[in-house]
């Protein structure tokens, strides 16, 4: 089966430039710089019909259009390597096993869109990937793939690697820029859009690692070839990150448009321990928890959206029939409460409200109207939150209320957890943590410094 991003990862020393070059590495860069105009590269990307792999699926070529038309110098490429979505690890594999692929992709994007400075913003906890990307950049500089007059052409570019400090919100396309500029990781209002006023107020192209890593093959073999790799009207390949209660979890680079059934049962080996599928998520923490009967859903941006949720990062999470959906929902809710940046009211307060409501369900002390309250709070968060975090954070919670209503009724009205997971001890959850105490705890945990 065709592989693009994961093609080289099992090679010996795959992270090294020698290995990369031995396997066609930097040939796309050479081709683009010596045989193609920036417009021609752009044209191939347009022909590929690629949707951005960061989660929104926005057409990559269209995003590039904005940048080409934007005024201001310098222009930046910002590679979003702040992969923090639970259940998602495709970028990490590329960064750890094939960092030069990413470097080459960044260079192609910069060439096509007329950018002269590239920033890679990598998640702070990706220690190995950081070291390897850093080393890759050094090697590429040494070999003249980055720097002035690359490959003897008049194309010059500089590349910088920056680490995050542990905030999920910094994967948001404007918060990442604030963070890079040394500001608090809060999202910015749009407009102005990053393509016009992005990093340091200059035009900025922000693309995901996976998006950029597909570029070398698109340049080498053509956008049309790439596009035809998809099935069920999907374009290209996509890395599906499969985790949870399956026999063979892992990253699978499959044609875009593969169904969930094929992914879970054919590639993932089915539900573990011979159990039944109860629920699953198509795309990381911020997607809905879907019931087993939606297993034939085509995993592409549009079909998943039509089903009322998002493909997101294509981090598919599988839950077997021993799972309690309330328990599953509260894990996501806790994650979002922890990761809400606190800038806008509906997200800051709403993520907490949802988690508190679920906490009461889990302990068997929820009020009868709890499902209504969850619906109301979720509606307000989705409609009014400032950025995507708050708009999508209620999905894993409210979707369980909608898709698994009976289970909630059992928790709330009968005070029973059908899966036998929740404590149901009738205890009022105690939530109050002094802010100072919390900070002291955090500092103590991290030994006073962030690793």
């Amino acid at each position: 089966m065709e592989q693009i991003c994961l093609r080289r990862i099992h090679n010996d020393n795959s992270q090294d430039i020698e290995s990369y070059i031995a396997h066609d590495g930097y040939t796309a860069l050479r081709k683009a710089l010596t045989e193609m105009t920036p417009e021609a590269v752009h044209e191939e990307v347009r022909a590929s019909n690629m949707g951005g792999r960061g989660g929104a699926g926005f057409p990559t070529a269209m995003k590039w259009n904005f940048l080409v038309g934007a005024r201001g110098q310098p222009k930046y490429v910002l590679c979003n390597f702040d992969e923090s979505e639970p259940g998602t690890f495709s970028n990490r594999i590329i960064g750890e096993e094939d960092p030069h692929l990413l470097v080459e992709g960044c260079l192609l994007a910069a060439y096509a869109t007329g950018c002269s400075i590239i920033f890679i913003y990598i998640r702070g906890e990706y220690f190995l990937a950081y070291e390897r990307v850093k080393h890759a950049i050094e090697q590429a500089y040494a070999r003249g793939f980055i720097g002035k007059n690359i490959l003897g052409t008049d194309f010059s570019v500089e590349m910088h690697l920056r680490r995050g400090a542990g905030a999920y919100i910094c994967g948001e396309e404007t918060a990442i820029m604030n963070s890079l500029e040394g500001k608090r990781g809060y999202p910015r209002a749009r407009p102005p859009f990053p393509a016009n006023e992005g990093l340091f107020g200059k035009p900025t192209l922000i693309n995901n690692v996976e998006t950029l890593s597909n570029l070398p093959d698109i340049v080498l073999k053509g956008g049309e070839w790439w596009s035809n790799l998809g099935v069920n009207e999907g374009a290209g390949l996509n890395i599906y990150c499969l985790s949870g209660h399956v026999e063979r979890p892992g990253a699978y680079e499959l044609p875009m448009g593969t169904t969930a059934r094929e992914l879970i049962y054919e590639h993932g080996g089915g539900i573990w321990q011979g159990r039944e599928l109860k629920a699953w998520k198509p795309g990381g923490a911020s997607s809905a928890i879907l019931p087993a009967d939606m297993i034939d859903l085509v995993l592409d941006f549009k079909p998943v959206q039509a089903a009322g949720t998002i493909l997101g990062t294509a981090g598919v999470v599988v839950m077997d029939d021993h799972t309690c959906v309330v328990d599953a929902a509260i894990r996501d809710a806790t994650f979002f409460e922890e990761e809400s940046c606190g800038f806008c009211f509906p997200c800051r307060d709403g993520t907490r409200v949802l988690r508190m409501l679920l906490e009461r369900v889990r302990h068997g002390v929820a009020a009868p109207d709890t499902m209504d309250l969850i619906e109301h709070a979720s509606t307000d968060m989705m409609g009014a939150s400032f950025c995507g975090l708050g708009q999508f954070a209620p999905w894993p919670v409210v979707s369980t209320v909608r898709n698994f209503r009976k289970e909630y009724e059992a928790h709330i009205l009968e005070r029973v957890c059908p899966a036998g997971v929740c404590p149901m001890d009738g205890a009022e959850p105690d939530e109050h943590v002094d802010r100072r105490t919390l900070q002291e705890m955090l500092v103590a945990q991290k030994g006073g410094v962030l690793a």
Binding site: A189, F345, P346, V353, D369, D380, L442
Partner: protein
């Protein structure tokens, strides 16, 4: 191009760049907000202001979405109202709703907005953390429970004050308002964060729990602490001033607000916001005092005024009117300075009337002419670059300093800071900092003027400047020649340059010289404007009223016969022609039989301490008219007449740009004290005048007629040369240069009676370079003794590595550390500094000083 859109079916046209919220409010449609403030940039965090816009996929926040032609906006749809109510419920869930005990109740944005969106409690239950308050500073406290985390305090501190002292710490629901890394709060303590807080989370510690919004009366007033003239409200209850705050009308939340926000742009500094409590200080004189057998004893007004009137009449008949002199103050209103001038000139019959403006404002005026004072803060805002010389305006004119920070940061204006002391603008706002040797500011400016005029006239400097150049300036000021030539080049290319200097203590003895140097520089540049900043709230009014020995109204000179006869006609007297005694004349040993001192603590003023003592000792009869028994009154007064503060009288104050502003009486006088205008009137009547003033307004009407009759004559500044003063020298004898300037938290003698401000600076502190302290064998916080001019002052020492090594900085305004006694007649003197012996060791066998330098 105006933009037309439809809001709730109503067509609205707004200027380009308006937001949907602007348009809705213009149409009279209410959209709730919590984090929005016309004072701040749009933020979009509270999401209360969401609206639905046709063809937009989701509701949009109206505060930061631009209005566009043809937009169709709905503000009351079901999803919008649902979101607003939902957000309010979430907010109320963790807000304590302790409204019965909250200072903000009644003027609380959260209360108001909850009322408007129809939510009074949270269905979600209560989730209040119940944490203790955090004391940020002696004046500012934060209640984490009430905080709704709208970020206004963080934003105003950054966007308007420029200190960026507050921040959000941690993340999400657990974030809290604090300082970066929980360091102690280091800021100008302006309290803008309290003012902007929509709920009762940020609190004024002096004001807490002293009155509810509906119990207080508000009076429009003008801040009396410096000459910027910030408009404010005095809040009172039952005759007591509870606090002062920025005039709320200036912070009106109507977005399309073109109202002039006044000289202070609607802000106040720490002095204005917290320095009000001297009004009710226990030290206030509440009734007249007469010295009997060496002690000041209470007396009636009749007794006191009769005694004063008799003394004046007797002195006049026995020694002549020119043995009687008065000293007035720039803290008095226009009306009062006008009346004291009329009292002395008409009723007493002498021109012996002066003030400390003699040391800075008047020489500046004499050098530059009245045209140089014909400027406005708006004009200042339009300069492309600022050359700020001398005292730090963040210390002396804080709100103007904050505004300048905004011009620099938001509008890209250049700021060049020239001073001998570190300033609050140095690190983050000044493009260039020139740290000159103390007392050589005019040498630097003169050098730049010589260089630039030489450049602009192809090598030939004007006659007046030919002996001076950048090399001599570099040698005199201690600034590298390359820095000077870069500065000159920058100024030449800057466009319009504002030359700004505060008329403060640093100028004493050289105000005229400096003004001439500044005028030369302005004339040498393609476009430059002079901005001399008056010191006291009504310094400018005092001069304009003609309350100076050689001054007549509207900046006319005392020997201007035409102005004098015009004034004489209006007053129906022949005015005395004799040369009046200036403050300098008085201090250099004039024979005075009656000395009438109004609003000035002469014995503690920053200059000529010894001479002031001599003058006061030798004067036949001393009358002090003040709020307090200051050191002059305590030691020298024969009669003390209790005057009132700005809050107890109505009056006009003319700010540094010449804007005359009214302050309304907020409370009746404390005790038996009387307004100065009233005291002057009663005294004049006792002396046989036929004045008919019933109130301050009737004086104001007369002033209007006088000013109309005696117009300003205009003469623009010219090139000129004045001998530059000798360089202050330490002569290698191990002495240090004493430098002083205003201290933001110590606004003059009155400020020392404000216990709020005393909380910020409890005692005077001398700052020295750490290397110097080490040489003296003194560690940070120990005492040093400073000696000069026969005076010896012992103060706590503090290390400051931003000072030059041969400099010691001691701020003015502390009666317990009289800088004036050390300075003598100079702005800078060489002083001996030594380690002071702790009290316990005095008299023991140990040597008196460990290490003298």
């Amino acid at each position: 191009m105006p933009v037309t859109l439809t809001v709730d079916g109503q067509e609205v046209t707004v200027p380009d760049g308006s937001t949907i919220l602007d348009a809705a409010r213009k149409a009279g449609i209410y959209i709730p907000t919590l984090c929005f403030d016309t004072f701040l940039k749009p933020y979009g965090a509270c999401r209360m202001c969401v609206v639905e816009v046709e063809r937009a996929p989701k509701p949009l926040s109206s505060c930061n979405t631009m209005a566009m032609n043809g937009m169709v906006v709905s503000t009351k749809t079901e999803p919008v109202v649902h979101a607003q109510q939902g957000i309010m419920e979430m907010t109320l869930q963790h807000h304590p709703l302790d409204c019965p005990y909250c200072d903000k109740s009644g003027v609380c944005d959260l209360q108001h907005t909850a009322y408007e969106v129809g939510v009074y409690r949270s269905k979600l239950g209560s989730d209040n953390p119940n944490e203790p308050d955090h004391e940020f500073s002696p004046l500012i406290e934060w209640d984490p429970n009430r905080c709704i985390y709208c970020g206004k305090c963080v934003r105003i501190c950054d966007e308007r004050v420029g200190d960026s002292a507050l921040t959000f710490n941690l993340r999400g629901f657990h974030s809290y308002i604090g300082t970066q890394f929980d360091e102690p709060l280091d800021c100008v303590e302006c309290g803008e964060c309290i003012e902007v807080c929509p709920v009762g989370a940020l609190l004024s510690r002096p004001f807490m729990h002293s009155g509810r919004a509906w119990q207080v009366n508000q009076s429009e007033s003008i801040c009396n602490h410096c000459s910027v003239g910030c408009q404010m409200h005095v809040e009172t209850r039952m005759g007591e001033v509870l606090r002062t705050k920025a005039n709320p009308a200036l912070r009106d939340q109507t977005p399309v607000n073109t109202r002039d926000r006044g000289p202070g742009d609607g802000m106040l500094c720490t002095r204005g916001r917290f320095g009000y409590d001297y009004i009710h200080d226990d030290g206030r004189v509440k009734q007249p005092l007469i010295r009997r057998n060496g002690t000041l004893e209470p007396a009636s007004w009749d007794e006191a005024l009769t005694l004063v009137a008799n003394q004046i009449a007797e002195a006049k008949s026995q020694h002549g009117p020119d043995t009687i002199a008065a000293i007035t103050s720039g803290r008095l209103s226009d009306e009062e300075n006008y009346l004291v001038s009329r009292l002395m000139r008409e009723v007493v019959g002498t021109n012996n009337l002066d003030s400390t403006e003699r040391w800075t404002f008047i020489p500046t005026l004499k050098t530059l002419g009245p045209a140089a004072f014909n400027f406005s803060i708006t004009q200042m805002e339009h300069m492309d670059a600022f050359l700020v010389v001398g005292g730090d305006i963040m210390e002396s004119h804080d709100v103007l300093g904050m505004r300048m920070r905004q011009w620099v940061r938001d509008q890209g204006k250049a700021l060049i800071q020239v001073s001998s002391l570190p300033s609050r603008q140095d690190s983050r706002f000044a493009q260039r900092v020139l740290r000159v040797r103390p007392g050589t500011e005019e040498h630097l400016v003169q050098g730049l003027a010589a260089e630039l005029s030489r450049q602009s006239s192809n090598g030939s400097a004007p006659e007046e400047l030919r002996d001076y150049n950048l090399e001599t300036a570099a040698a005199d000021t201690g600034i590298e020649l390359t820095d000077l030539s870069e500065t000159a080049a920058q100024l030449a290319q800057a466009g319009s340059v504002g030359i700004v200097w505060a008329l403060g203590n640093w100028l004493i003895g050289s105000a005229g010289n400096f003004a001439q140097a500044a005028a030369n520089l302005a004339l040498a540049l393609p476009e430059a404007h002079l901005f001399p900043l008056a010191a006291k709230a009504n310094s400018r009014g005092l001069v304009q009223m003609g309350a100076g020995a050689d001054l007549l109204p509207n900046f006319r000179s005392g020997d201007d016969a035409q102005a004098r006869s015009a004034l004489g006609r209006l007053w129906d007297v022949v005015l005395p022609e004799s040369q009046g005694l200036t403050l300098d004349d008085l201090l250099s040993g004039a024979d005075v039989s009656v000395l009438y001192i109004i609003g000035e603590d002469l014995a503690a003023s920053a200059r000529n301490h010894q001479q002031a003592q001599t003058l006061l000792d030798q004067a036949g009869f001393v009358v002090v008219q003040d709020l307090f028994v200051n050191s002059t009154a305590a030691e020298h007064a024969d009669v003390v007449l209790p005057a009132v503060s700005f809050a107890e009288k109505t009056g006009t104050y003319t700010n540094l740009e010449g804007r005359a502003q009214r302050a309304q009486a907020a409370i009746p006088p404390v005790g038996e004290a009387k307004a100065d205008w009233q005291i002057f009137t009663e005294l004049a009547l006792q002396l046989g005048a036929r004045w008919t003033y019933k109130n301050s307004d009737s004086v104001a009407q007369e002033i209007a007629a006088v000013l109309a009759d005696i117009p300003t004559t205009h003469s623009a500044p010219r090139f000129g040369w004045q001998e530059l003063p000798a360089l202050p020298s330490v002569n290698g004898d191990g002495k240090l240069l004493l430098v002083t300037q205003d201290h933001l938290f110590v606004p003059g003698v009155t400020g020392r009676y404000s216990s709020n401000l005393r909380r910020l600076v409890e005692e005077p502190v001398a700052e020295l370079h750490p290397a110097q302290l080490e040489r003296l064998g003194v560690s940070d916080g120990e005492k040093v003794g400073i000696q000069a001019n026969g005076a010896d002052v012992t103060v706590t020492a503090k290390a400051n590595d931003r000072l030059a090594e041969d400099v010691v900085y001691l701020p003015v305004g502390f009666p317990d550390a009289p800088v004036g006694a050390l300075l003598g007649a100079e702005a800078t003197v060489a002083v001996s500094v030594r380690a002071a012996v702790p009290a316990a060791e005095v008299g023991s066998a140990q040597p008196r000083a460990r290490n003298e330098t």
